[in-house]
């Protein structure tokens, strides 16, 4: 099946970055290099073109073709600056290789200078040959990794001999609106559940519920604790904080209701969908809150697909 093979190679191209395969010891010239000297530079390094660099920054590129043209014109005395192309197309070191290969193909160039994103500092040069060499190396690495891959822990529950068993994961969530770490617990839980071989649908529901709960802790509390208890047939989430508490739980559960301040909304949060989204993911949900004391959220997610229509149970203690 030739199609499948192409896809595999394509996939590899997409998994490499320019700085994985580029030549790092790049030969450069300056704008003031006399064209007379260019021949030796190209010949000695066996290259057919080179970036022109001034004060570390890319200002042009000069190729064998430019050099030959100059010879045909009777080699008048001039410097690289007079003959180089100034409209240089470069690639960034952190660009995907596929994007760079596309550029090479589209432009019909043999080489592209590689610069650091944001600056114009030349950090390497990329040729088609580099791309092929990079692919072969990547194939080799992939092959070795496949040989040494660690076994997954998916059979852990089957291997345990007990009437009941559970795994407990705890995640501390900082409050005070620190969005930077936002989602770390949900993402950690998701990875762990996948490794346990739990079905993706269940993992997704648990991750979404955890994420929304985590964001609530981040924005509205001084921090709290998320506990995930994994049993053989369900995941139980317990989310607790010590304040400020929810004034009107029924209102808070209503989709679209939000008490989020403007800066939270500016970040794309505060749609008033958090608790509602949790409910959508849950088989059972319970929310208890006391103003000035704290909030406790319990969510149960049954493995193997959502079965129960959630009757959320919410209580408020004045």
């Amino acid at each position: 099946m030739p199609e499948l093979e192409i896809t595999k190679i394509q996939e590899l191209v997409y998994e490499l970055w320019v700085d994985d395969v580029m030549h790092k010891d790049v030969v450069t010239v300056t704008p003031s290099t006399p064209l007379n000297n260019l021949r030796e530079i190209l010949r000695d390094n066996r290259i057919s073109g080179t970036p022109v660099v001034e004060n570390g920054r890319l200002v042009g590129i000069i190729s064998m073709e430019d050099f030959i043209k100059w010879l045909c014109e009777g080699s008048p005395g001039c410097a690289v600056a007079d003959r180089m192309s100034r409209n240089v197309i470069a690639v960034c070191a952190d660009e995907p290789l596929i994007q760079a290969i596309n550029k090479l193909e589209r432009l019909g160039f043999g080489r592209l200078p590689v610069i650091k994103r944001g600056t114009k500092e030349v950090v390497g040069i990329l040729t088609k040959g580099d791309s092929i060499a990079g692919l072969l190396k990547k194939l080799d690495i992939d092959y070795r990794q496949a040989e040494t891959r660690h076994p997954r822990s998916s059979h852990i529950f089957e291997d345990i001999v007990a009437d009941r068993s559970s795994l407990i994961f705890e995640y501390d969530v900082a409050g005070g609106g620190d969005v930077k770490r936002g989602g770390a617990s949900a993402s950690g839980l998701k990875t762990s559940l996948m490794r346990l071989g739990i079905d993706p649908q269940t993992v997704r529901r648990a991750a979404i519920a955890t994420y929304e709960a985590e964001m609530n802790l981040t924005f509205f509390t001084n921090g709290g604790l998320i506990t995930a208890i994994i049993e053989s047939d369900l995941i139980r989430l317990e989310v607790t904080d010590d304040g400020p508490g929810i004034e009107n739980v029924d209102q808070a559960m209503r989709p679209g209701f939000s008490t989020a301040p403007d800066w939270v909304r500016e970040l794309g949060f505060g749609a008033g969908m958090g608790l509602y989204n949790i409910k959508t993911c849950a088989d059972r949900m319970r929310l208890d809150s006391t103003v000035g004391v704290g909030t406790r959220l319990e969510v149960e997610i049954l493995m193997g697909g959502k079965r129960e229509v959630v009757r959320d149970h919410a209580t408020v203690t004045a």
Partner: protein, 115 residues
């Protein structure tokens, strides 16, 4: 349609994208509200947004979206970039405003409706 094809036809700049660019795009969703995306986007949707902070990656990864396209040439924050690599979420940028980009996506056959 594969994300890589959309990337080429609409000339999207790839900020992060490995083999994940070969994922199928089944539809599209546009929103700047994260919980709205969590509630309403579908698996393998391409998400069009102007939000650039790292939580977009968490949302995309959780919902198993096909990728994120930032509009108006918005630059993602450094943490967003790192996160996207970690979680293998394709992150692309278009210089176009959202309305125009979505129009062009729609022309390519990317729809926001459930079939």
């Amino acid at each position: 349609m594969k994300l890589s094809e959309i990337m080429q036809r609409l000339q999207l700049e790839v900020i992060v994208g490995g083999g994940s660019l070969l994922r199928e795009v089944n539809g599209g969703y546009a929103s700047d509200l994260l919980s709205d995306v969590i509630a309403n986007a579908r698996e393998r949707d391409l998400w069009v947004t102007l939000q650039t902070h790292q939580n977009i990656i968490a949302v995309a990864s959780m919902k198993e979206l096909a990728g994120i396209v930032l509009v108006n040439a918005r630059e993602p924050e450094v943490e967003t970039l790192e996160k996207a690599r970690e979680e293998d979420v394709p992150l692309l940028v278009s210089p176009l405003p959202a309305f125009e980009l979505i129009g062009r996506l729609y022309k390519l056959g990317v729809s926001g409706m459930r079939t």
